[in-house]
Structures are given as C-alpha cells and as structure tokens.
Point group: C2
Chain length 593, copies 2
C-alpha cells in the first residue's frame, strides 16, 4: 500500500468516525492562521499612530481591536481544544474498536501467520500507544495551518518586495530538498535497526515476564540475559549515535537556512528603514510589521518542515493498521447455504494440508467418514497432525487439496455463522475469561435463568466448588481487573471449559486433550460421564491417555500425516504390530503391576 | 512513598546513570535563558540607534551582536540536542536495564502477588512507554529554564517599574493557586477512572489477543465483547467530557490571567510612551524591549505552569518504578552458609503454608524425610498442595510455620546462589526461550564444547530431531525475532526442558508433570530412562499418570494439604481404602480391557 492510498483510507475512516472533528479542525486551522496574521499586521497601525498623531481615539481603536481579537481567538482556541480533546479520545477509542472487531472477524489463518501477527502487533501499537490516527489528524491540521500562515506572510512581504519573496521561496525549496533527503536516510535507518530492536525487545521482555522468573532463578539465567540486554543496548546506542550525528548535520543545515531567511528579511527591512536604495523609506510601524512577519515566517517554515515529517511518520505508523483492515473477513468466506439441523455425517475426501508458507505436508491425502452419533478417538504421536485435522474441520484453515463434507455438502458451502453454531470444541490451549462463571459458560450477557449453567457445572463435577463461592455462579473468574475475582486450579478450569462446550448444544463436540490437567479421580469422573454428557452427538476426542479410546466407537490412528488405521479398540488390539497396539500397550504395561 | 522522596530517588538514580547528562542539561538551561534575555534587551539598542544617530558602525555592531549571539545559541542548542538525544536513549535503556535486573532479582513471592504484579506492570509501562525518567529530566530542565527566564524578565521590567513587577508576581501566584486546585481535581479524576479503564483495557486486550481467537470464533463471543468494549468506551467518554469541561474552565481562568498580564504590561508600557504620568517618557527602543519582555513573560508563566504539571505527572508515573526498586532482593534473603556437596537428606518439619494475603492454609503441619538417592512420587488431587510443596523447597516462598532442612540445615541458612545450584526443576509451566537449542539446555553463552548438550539431547530422545535440523544444536528455537527459528511440538519442548534440568548437574531433581504433553511412546521412553537419567540423585516426581509411581521408591500422598500416606507402591496398594489405591485403580481399570 503506498502512502497516498493509506492517506486516502485514513481520511475516509476519520470522516466516517467523526465528520464534525474534521470540520472543526479545518476552522480551527483557519482561525489560528488568522490570529497570527492579525498580530503581525495590526501593531503597525498602532505604532504608526503612537509615533504620529497620537489620537487617543485611534490608539484605543487599534489597541482595542488587537486586544479583542486576541481575546476572541483565545476563547476560540480554548473551546476548540476542549472539543478536540474529547473527540480525540473518541477517535482513539473508535480505532481500538475497529481494530478489535477486525481481529475477531478476520480469517483465522492470518492469526497463526507470523507476518500477519506482526502486522497486527504493529497496528495495535499504532492505535494504542502512538495514537497514530489522532496525531495524524492534528499534524495535518498544523501542516495546513503553517501553509495558510506562510501564504499570508508571503503576501505581507510581497507588499514590500517581490524579489525578497522570491528569495524566501527559494529558501523554502532548499529546506524541502534537505528534508526529503533526511527522511530517506531516516527511513533507511529505522529499517536497518529493526532486527536489533526486535532482539533487544525480546530479551528485555524475557526479563520482564513474571511467568519466566521461576526458570530464570532456578537455572541462574540472569547473568546471561543481563549480558545480552546490555550487548543489544550498546549496539542500539552505537546506531543512534550515528543517527543523531546525521540528524545534527540536517538540523544544522536547516538552521543555516533559517538564519539566511532572517538575515535576508531583517537586512532588507533594515536597509529600507535607513536608506532609499530599494524604494522609498518605510516607517517604524512597517518596520515592526515586516520584522514580526519575518520572525513568524522563519518559525512557520520550521513548523511546516516538522509537520511534513510528522505526517509522513504517522502515515507510516498507520500503514499496518490500514493493511490489516483490508484483510478478508471470515464471514465473507464460504457460501450462503445456512446450516440447519444436526451434524449427521462427516466425510474427509483426499484432504491434504500444508500451513501457508510451509513446505511440509502436515496431512496427506486423508479420507475417512464419521456416521451419526459415533464417538471417535483420534490418536497418534506428537506432531502427527491430529490438532490440524480438527482445525480444518472447524474451518480455521482451508484444505490445500481435497474437501471436507458435512451432511453431504462441502463445509465451505455453508454460511459462516450458522456453520460455527454446529460445533463446540475444547482445545488444548483453551482459555477462560475474566467474566463470571455463568458468562464463561454461556458466552452471553448474564441471563435471569441460570438453571442450565448450574446444571452443566454439576455435570462436570463443579457443584461443590461453585456452592462454596460467596457469589456462586456469579463469581468473577480471575483477578485481571478485580481483586475480588476467584482463582481456580488447572483441573477446575478445564471442567469449566468442558461445561462451556456442552452449553453450546452443538451437534458435533470436539475435545482436544480435555483431561490433561485433571487428577485421576476427576479424569475418571469425566470419562464415566462422557457418553452421558455428549449424548447422541458426534464426538471427536484427542488424548494421549490411551484408556480413553476404550470408550469410543472407532479410533482414527494418524501416523505422520496419513491414516494408518480406523477401526474399533477391540479390532485394533488384535493387530499386535499396529501403532495403536504399541501406544496402548506402552501405557497399559505400567498399570499391570 | 511521597513525591519528595520519589524525586530524591530519581535524582540520585539519574546522577548515577549519567552525571554528564545532568550537568549538560543545567548549562543548556542557562544558555537558553540567556538567549531569550539577549533577544529581549539588545534590539532596544538597535532601534534606539535606528531612530537616533544611525551611525553605521554602531548599527552594524548591535546587529552583528544579535546575529552572532543567535548563531552561537543556535549552534549550542543543536549540539546539546544531539548529545541529549543520545543520552536520552541511554537513560531509557538504563532504566529498562535496572528494571529487568530488579525483576530477575526480587524475592520471587512478589511476582505471584497481584499488588506487586500490577506495580511491576506500571513500572515497566513508565519506563517503556512513557519514557518517564527521560521526560522528567527534560521537564525539570524546562521548569528551571522558565524560572531563570522569569527572574531575568522581572529584572528587566523592574527597571521600568517596581509596582508593575509586584502586580505581575501577584498574577503568577494566582496562576499557581488555580493550578494546584486543578491538579488535585485531576489526580482525583484519574484515580476514579482507573477501574473503568482496567475493565476497558481487559476487554480490548481480549479482542486483540490472537491466542483467544479460536475460542472467540467457536463460541460466537464477538458480539458480547464488542458490546462491552463499546459500553466501557461510552463510560470513559462520559468521564472525559466532564474532565475536559473542568479543564476548559481552568484553562479559561489561566488565559484571563494571561490577558490580564498582557493588558497590565502593554497598557503600562503604552502609557509610559505617550505620557509622563508615571515617570519620564520612554523611547520606541525601550517600548519594544518592554513589550517583548511582556510577551516572553506571559509565555514563560504558561511554560512554568505546564512544566510544574509535567514534573508532577512524570513523578507520579515514576512512583511505581521507585517503589518496585525498593523491594527486597532474593540474594539478601537467607544466610551466608555456602551450600557444598550434594543434597543428601531433605526433612520437612511441621511445615504450614498459606499464600500471602490468603486465609487458606495450603499445607498443614507437613513432616516427612527423604533419604539419599530416593526417588519420591508426590500424588494427590488437583489443588492438594503438591506444587506449593515444591515451591517451598525451591525457596520461592518461605513456610508460614515450621522449617525445611537439607543436610541438617534450615534451607534459609544457605547462601542464595549456592543453594539454587543444588536443584533442577521442570515445572508444569516451564518455558523455553528463543535461544539456540544449546543455549536453552546450558542456559549459558554458547560453548565450544557441545558434547554434553548433544548427549543430553540423545538421552531425552531428540537425537534424530536435532540431526534433521539444518543448524543442528545451534538452531534457533521459535520465531520471536527471527523468521528462521524452528518450531517444536509440546512434547519435543518438554524433552528439551528435561535435558535442561539434567544439564544442571544438580543433586536434587524435581519434575512436575514432566510428561503431560508427551505421546505414549515418548512417555514410555522417558519412564524407561528415568532412573538411568537421574542416577543416584534425589528425585521428586509429580504426575497425574499414576503408572509413574511404580518406578519410585516411595510415594508421598497429599490430601487437602496434609500427608495422608508415605510409603512404597506395593505397601500402599495393600490398603484398598487409601486415596492412593483409588487414584491408581481409577486409571488402571481402563487399561485392563
């Protein structure tokens, strides 16, 4: 995306968020340019009067206009500041809002792709920490302001001398040439420093992360981390020393130009006061006007330069945001067919999959079928492709080749949200939220009727726990924003996650290592209730605890991305050379003593 | 900690980090005050000359001094800017450095306490995002600058009229009174808005977190999250509308004071030019000088006010940083006795423990002994206190009552770092780092001799995996800062973590759920090698996979914080009503088919 497109998107977006903000900003800009010009021009008349006839009425008139105009502009500026500050917060929040909605809607596969994850991080950083949108708008305002002011001042100077104005314009052009060159250098510099910065950030992040401190202490890693942080520190410092030297030369050049402007303007104005070499002499009033015009002129050129840089900087901050906003959304993926009824059959047909950007085929030409009400256990070694298969079924990824059919239709024919309703899953890395227990289970705003959620908590064996809590099912989970939140063990959380999955009343239930954190009794409890909990739904079950396969109708054995077996426990145990037999036996033998 | 103490600590700290920076800042401040005064005073002489004798030499002299002085100050400012920018980066990095060292050294228990975790977050935010240290120094510099400038300007004005100066001082006092009131309001306001902001931050954070997106999609949580984000948005907006209205009144009052100052100064100066009511008439040169002194005066009063607010704001940002820096460090906890030799015996004597701030006793009057070379399995239900027992042994917490002895000495008698060397642990929530495989195992800078690390990788069953990697044992783990990093499954990572623990050559090895993510074959492999891997060291072993207990000499059964049994597998299996029998049986039964 180029800067022009980014700027256009930015303008459209900010207009959409708050047209009023843009309009106000425009008038604010005009007003503040007006104030500058009035303060340059009016004092001339006051001084001329002071040095001339000293008519009290006229002195009061000019003085009065200056004072009143300034009072008016001050009032205007303050009012605008208040309105703009409010709107600024609104803009920032709307940007957060847009971004968070987008993340929740974007096609899931982008969120496991390092490039897009990095893009997301940068986009979030732009909106959260750099207030890029708000700052860009303000910079555009100031840029516009300095342009208007410069034009006004050039007109004033023009009334003195065309040649002087031409000289001044040449200095502005020189400024821009230098600036363009420096910006290119700057861009280059920040591009080059990224890798060092990422490493530095990573190491500092490690040292800051409280979750790592047990390991850091036990393995005495502090000296190594400290050394690396220091090393990257030094490296960054070296880079920046070079950078600031270049910046110094650039700013030095700018100040020479600025001095040249001042010398030109003051010198010329001075000569016009004491000689008539370039035209008739001017009075002290005009002298004051031209000198203050010259002062404002040099400062406006600086402001212009600064704002051009700010605009370009904030635009570059916004790049990732705009790029992320353009990513396709999940809802638009797939067809229009609404998913209705239950999941009766699932069929994988020659499904092959490799992660985007990866060479390796995680699944190779997988075909199998699941019939109504079947409980299927998926087993295999670590990295065999079990979780990937589940992700494909959940439409989090699209098969590289082949198709997945549910009830006879390619799953991508179904309309997205109705499809998502048909399945519930507890992933290995499931997460609960700092909501109440009830909200964690229902994933909805609190209901008056908590009967269903309570029943589910009882089913998964959390009845006593919930009853022991002061606020029961309305207890807040975790202390993220409230000290009063309750804490739960890994096993208890896993039970809540299972209750959440059951609450969904989906006709396809997927459990990926659902009991890994549970103690043997809790595990046995879940196993015993499993068939009862799931009812006549299709259930897919991934677990390294081979004993869980015994409860299932069929076992899908995946070995290095291909299906090596698909049969019942009894049948598979007959084949003593099968992977399944080995897996089961290796655990069973330890319990036989 | 009060602001004065915080400021004192800040000053000591910045002096320690870079005394040169402070000295430079001081001179920079003086120089920039000097420039302002020169530009106020010298033009008077130029103008007097222009309106008077117009001697070319004197005109050139005054003009020359003004131009040269400004050139000199511009050069000085630019040079200082370059040096200060560099030093600024250095300051920020040193703050990161201090903070990261502190986190790695602070007593561990603070890092599991919500209050101190929050303090840490705020301290990190101050140093990372608000550049609080650097900004505070700059603000103090500007504050100092505006005070010096104001004093200089008051001296200039004093040469005109004592009464005028007194009036101006009164306006400054009025400004301060208003400011103090507003700052109090501000502090109050930001205190009140914290809870809403935390909730808002939490919900936005949820929406931003890519790890949660699977669950958010599957459970259709997007509408609920969006609604809450919007709701807290609105709430914050309402708060800020009120805030900006108050700020508006305050700024309005300030601008009235500012206008009053201007009217007083301009009016008085004007009267002195056209009348001799308050003394002899002054010339246009003096008029210009006093007017520009008045302009600078009002702007310096504003700057002074702004900087007082900035200083107080940055000080409040630094509060958490300073508070965190004062926390006691692990190394200073415990005695001086160096730990030498091996861990031969471990004895818990009446150990009771409750987490700081919690009412609940997690462990109650625990006593047991472990002899040389014993392998102990610790079993119990979720939440029984198994992991807490390990944390106490690792000195991550201190027993509330009772003592733990190793080789006959209370573990807190030992000197910290030598004690930490005697034990290696793989925790449930162990973490690997984006280092090379070798560095992950040795936790040290890369060595020339990689034999030991390679052998350990072979022992834990990763030989083939490592050999398949292009850079072998020097391969970078994870993609945190390098796209070329390799990725590993949960099981493979767990094996690396076990290799890291074995590398430490500690005489006490602790494994907390070391095989939970491993597939049955990998699990069996670790079990088979277990005794061989651990050798004659004492080993503590926590696992929900009961079969692992069979390999151990004794089993410590914890039930609700107390020891319910401590015996060998065979003995414990004889007691059919024991918790251990139930736990073992509940898993074994599923493998008996």
């Amino acid at each position: 995306m180029n800067s022009a497109k980014c700027f256009k998107m930015f303008f459209k977006l900010s207009w959409k968020i708050s047209p009023m903000y843009i309009v106000l900003l425009f008038f604010n800009t005009l007003a503040s340019s007006g104030q500058i010009l009035i303060n340059v021009i009016l004092p001339k008349f006051l001084i001329d009067e002071l040095l001339g006839e000293r008519q009290i009425e006229r002195l009061l008139l000019f003085g009065g206009i200056i004072v009143l105009a300034n009072l008016f502009f001050t009032w205007l500026t303050l009012t605008m500041k208040r309105v703009m500050d409010e709107k600024g917060i609104y803009m920032r929040e709307m940007m957060n809002h847009l971004m968070s909605e987008k993340i929740m809607k974007v096609e899931y596969s982008y969120l496991e792709n390092p490039y897009y994850l990095d893009l997301k991080e940068r986009a979030v950083f732009a909106s959260n920490n750099q207030s890029a949108m708000e700052n860009l708008i303000l910079s555009v305002g100031k840029l516009f302001n300095s342009i208007i002011t410069l034009i006004g001042l050039l007109v004033v100077m023009f009334s003195l001398s065309l040649v002087l104005v031409l000289f001044l314009i040449i200095t502005i052009i020189l400024t821009f040439v230098a600036q363009k060159k420096f910006m290119k250098y700057q861009q280059n510099f920040f591009g080059q420093i990224i890798p060092v910065n990422r490493k530095y950030g990573y190491y500092v992040g490690l040292a800051y992360d409280d979750k790592l401190q047990k390991d850091i202490r036990l393995y005495g890693m502090s000296p190594m981390l400290t050394k690396r942080v220091r090393q990257y520190n030094d490296e960054i410092n070296e880079w920046f020393t070079k950078y600031y030297t270049s910046q110094g030369s650039y700013l030095g050049f700018l100040s020479i130009i600025n001095d040249l402007q001042a010398a030109l303007a003051y010198g010329y104005v001075g000569i016009r006061v004491i000689t008539n070499w370039f035209g008739s002499r001017i009075g002290i009033g005009s002298f004051t006007m031209y000198v203050s015009a010259a002062i404002k002129f040099t400062s406006s050129v600086s402001t212009l330069g600064e704002q051009v840089m700010s605009v370009s900087q904030y635009l570059s901050y916004l790049h990732p945001f705009m790029e992320f906003m353009e990513l396709p959304e999940e809802e638009k993926v797939g067809g229009d067919l609404p998913f209705e009824g239950n999941v009766d059959t699932i069929r994988f047909e020659h499904v092959t999959f490799q992660y985007p950007g990866s060479e390796k085929q995680v699944l190779k030409d997988i075909s199998f079928e699941i019939k109504k009400g079947e409980k299927i256990s998926i087993v295999g070694l670590n990295g065999a492709g079990k979780t990937t298969l589940i992700k494909l079924l959940c439409r989090l990824y699209r098969p590289t080749e082949g198709k997945i059919y549910i009830n006879g239709h390619d799953i991508f024919e179904y309309e997205h949200s109705s499809y998502m309703k048909c399945m519930a899953a507890v992933f290995q890395d499931y997460r609960l939220f700092a909501f109440t227990m009830e909200e964690n289970i229902t994933c909805k705003e609190p209901q008056e009727d908590i009967k269903k959620a309570s029943e589910l908590l009882e089913k998964v064996g959390l009845k006593e726990k919930v009853e022991s809590l002061p606020k029961g099912i309305k207890s807040l989970f975790g202390k993220s924003y409230d000290e009063g939140g309750i804490e739960m063990s890994g096993g208890e959380s896993q039970k809540v996650a299972i209750a959440r999955a059951l609450n969904k009343e989906a006709s396809l239930i997927i459990l990926d290592e659902p009991t890994s954190a549970l103690d043997p009794l809790a595990e046995a409890e879940i196993y015993e209730n499993f068939n009862h909990l799931v009812g006549d739904k299709i259930a897919l079950y991934i677990s390294h605890r081979m004993s869980s396969s015994v409860f299932c109708d069929k076992i899908l054995v995946i070995d290095g991305g291909v299906i090596s077996d698909y049969d019942s426990h009894t049948k598979l145990m007959e084949k003593q050379d099968s992977l399944y037999y080995k897996l089961f036996h290796s655990q069973a033998i330890n319990y036989s003593s």
